[in-house]
Point group: C2
Chain length 163, copies 2
């Protein structure tokens, strides 16, 4: 009796502890969607994922965001945000506005051109993501989002206790 044909990674994963197996699968899936998104952003809009990510954060906050708030939301270091903001500013897609009440602070906002460019990208981007997740039902997506929410909270609580 022949064994069922399963691909190499899946077979390797199955030896692992449940948590490791799940984690490897999360890594793989994430990487797959991320690589695809990166490629499409490059092909369609000659831009990159971090640039898109920064603009997406600003789109959600029309009044603009401080550098450290961008850093926190994008979960990257401050120096990184400085670099990406510099480039987007050069391209005229975002602007740094001084905060009159605290001269250390920059408020970063989308320019009109930035909003227009982002709108075009976001529409296609949403389609890519919806297509990627079309395999799952709404109920399944909600279930998964719920589990991830709990997981996220738990891991954050671990950080506090040993960081």
């Amino acid at each position: 009796m022949p064994k069922p044909a399963i691909d190499t990674e899946t077979r390797a994963e199955s030896d692992d502890h449940g948590a490791i197996r799940l984690w490897l699968r999360m890594l793989a899936t994430n990487r797959l969607v991320e690589t695809r998104t990166r490629r499409l952003l490059q092909e369609r809009f000659a831009t990159t994922l971090p640039r898109f990510d920064l603009m997406a954060q600003l789109e959600r906050s029309p009044q603009g965001l401080r550098m450290n708030e961008l850093s926190r939301r994008m979960m990257v270091t401050g120096g990184n945000v400085t670099g990406i903001t510099d480039m987007l500013e050069q391209e005229g897609l975002v602007e740094r506005v001084a905060d009159p009440s605290d001269r250390r602070v920059w408020r970063v906002r989308l320019t009109r051109a930035g909003r227009r460019a982002f709108a075009a990208m976001a529409q296609e981007h949403e389609r890519w993501i919806v297509d990627a997740f079309a395999e799952l039902s709404t109920r399944e997506m909600n279930a998964m989002a719920g589990l991830l929410g709990r997981l996220k909270t738990h891991v954050r609580s671990l950080e506090g206790s040993d960081a």
Copy 2:
């Protein structure tokens, strides 16, 4: 009647289409666990996640792996694998063995020192992951792994159709 207090990201996410919302949550959770793992690997073993990942792949394949097979399994580009392998080779943790039947090919294997070093790391690493996922029950982890498996297969099939 006051609205329930939810944090800023969660509120922002809730405006989005289900697929986008789930994707953002996957990104955030992944990043969180990955950053934590990276930090612990650095603190405890003065190594990095990609080095650990490459060694983990080799551990699963005692006979060694070709560069392109490593690249495929780690889902990173070939150039990247070359760099990481170079460093691990310098440190004496892996070795490149020529393939007599095809002179283009390197078979990369863990050295004895590499196996020993990896065993120590893997044990702690598993503990970190188990702890991180302790929030979820076995049943929940299995459910999530199943959904991710389907998702992964689906996205891979998309790649074929428009790449």
